[in-house]
């Protein structure tokens, strides 16, 4: 290796000499010719977008069809699924294996709900697919209520994405991305002052009682189907992983989707402050 450095320069020049010889040597490295990859990258980008859209439509479509089949055509389950819990603008339907198994000691009001028409939904694969993205300031002016932001964790900062949704009532969805994994949602917080039901959850894996600032709250595990909206225009999304905390505070309803434990979720919920 004739170009690899001699190792006997003065000590204070040793590294610089070594570094400069390294660079001289590496400049002769016989790299293979670089192909022009721009068209290949563009083609792969286009095909990936098409695949993703198709996959999302298929998965959510199948799930929605299954759900509808369960609700409408399986009598025992149908009888049971029509039991629900409501917190603010959120209604949670409970699936029980038999019509006689009545849930006990659950907070909220139970009632009977009879669907009057088949829902027509727009399937979403992620909360980031929501329409109505805007700025926090714009959301504040459109929402008609004071948007609150978490003061915990201290380094959370402002949301990375803000959506204003007209779902028959106004809902504001705030999304924070995971800094370590920029393609992952860290948490999303939905705030609404609507007195009508804007969100319906179907058959969460588990439901646990909790309290936020002394008010009743529910802590749920995925996967479950979330239907946002009222009337004919709705969004359907499969909440595949993570947990959800739902609570209300006066006229305001909150729904927190987070990949964390209950203690952290409650701490975050109790740290909400009006936007400065």
């Amino acid at each position: 290796m004739s170009e690899i450095p001699e190792f006997n320069p003065p000590a204070d020049q040793l590294e610089n000499s070594f570094e400069s010889q390294l660079i001289r040597t590496t400049r002769s490295f016989p790299y293979p010719p670089v192909p022009d990859l721009s068209q290949a990258v563009l083609n792969r980008l286009a095909s990936r977008r098409q695949r993703r859209t198709r996959r999302t439509l298929v998965v959510v479509g199948v799930l929605a069809a299954l759900l509808l089949a369960v609700v409408l055509f399986v009598p025992p389950v149908r009888a049971a699924i029509l039991e629900w819990i409501r917190i603010g603008a959120v209604r949670i339907f409970l699936v029980q294996p038999t019509p006689t198994a009545t849930p006990t000691a659950r907070p909220g009001n139970f009632a009977t709900f009879v669907p009057t028409s088949e829902p027509t939904s727009t399937p979403l694969s992620s909360v980031l697919d929501l329409s109505g993205q805007t700025t926090l300031a714009d959301a504040q002016s459109k929402s008609g209520f004071s948007i609150r932001l978490p003061a915990y964790p201290a380094d959370l900062g402002l949301p990375d994405h803000v959506f204003v949704q007209d779902l028959g009532g106004t809902a504001v969805v705030l999304v924070w991305m995971d800094r370590a994994q920029p393609d992952h949602v860290k948490l999303s917080l939905t705030e609404s002052a609507s007195d009508t039901i804007l969100f319906q959850k179907f058959a969460p894996k588990s439901i646990e009682n909790a309290t936020v600032n002394g008010q009743t709250a529910l802590w749920m595990d995925g996967p479950y189907l979330l239907v946002s909206g009222a009337g004919d225009a709705t969004y359907t999304r499969l909440v595949a992983a993570g947990h959800t905390l739902v609570w209300s505070d006066g006229q305001l309803s909150y729904r927190l989707e987070i990949r964390s434990d209950l203690v952290s979720a409650i701490r975050l919920a109790e740290s909400l402050r009006p936007e400065p």
Partner: protein
């Protein structure tokens, strides 16, 4: 058109902006991928995937920052992951014959700058992936310390100390080889 404008357009799925960014940076990304994988086909695949990932997450990227260190950091992570994967073994089998041909075309008894550089590279490849990464970025691709810092997502001071340690280890590896070569009469 400046790079920050290209990045903003690319984040809105503007194909011409994406194409311009790929064209501008594909050489550095391909070369880094090749240094890690040692296989042109794999390097090409890693390069494509690096740009695809970069474009997918472009809306999280600050357009005032330089694009090159960012896409290089993605490429380094992808290439390092491939080195640990089963796919790597299949690729090695496919590329073995071609690499042997390439080696044969450079006669080790006739030292040339290219042969020296390849021998240096083979020595670096025996080092840890962390050492390889900092050496490739700083000395093979000749990134500045600031760009190396951005690509590794560590402070410049840490780049300096990491480089210092990597160079010490590289020197230690090169010394015995040099001694052996001298004893064998082939300096």
């Amino acid at each position: 058109m400046d790079e920050s404008t290209l990045i903003q357009l690319a984040s809105q799925h503007n194909e011409q902006a994406c194409e311009a960014l790929v064209f501008e940076h594909q050489q550095a990304v391909f070369r880094l991928a090749y240094l890690f994988t040692g296989d042109p086909d794999e390097a090409e695949d890693v390069t494509q995937e690096s740009f695809i990932r970069a474009f997918r997450f472009l809306d999280k990227f600050d357009p005032e920052r330089s694009f090159r260190p960012w896409v290089l950091s993605i490429a380094a992570n992808l290439a390092r992951n491939r080195l640990r994967s089963f796919k790597r073994y299949l690729s090695i089998l496919k590329g073995a014959a071609r690499r042997e041909q390439e080696r044969a075309s450079i006669d080790p008894s006739q030292p040339t700058p290219a042969a020296d550089a390849q021998e240096l590279w083979r020595t670096v490849r025996k080092m840890s992936l962390e050492d390889q990464q900092v050496i490739y970025l700083r000395y093979f691709l000749e990134l500045s310390e600031e760009e190396t810092s951005a690509a590794l997502q560590i402070p410049e001071g840490t780049v300096k100390s990491r480089l210092h340690r990597a160079l010490s280890r590289l020197r230690a590896r090169l010394e015995p080889e040099r001694t052996d070569a001298v004893k064998g009469g082939n300096p």
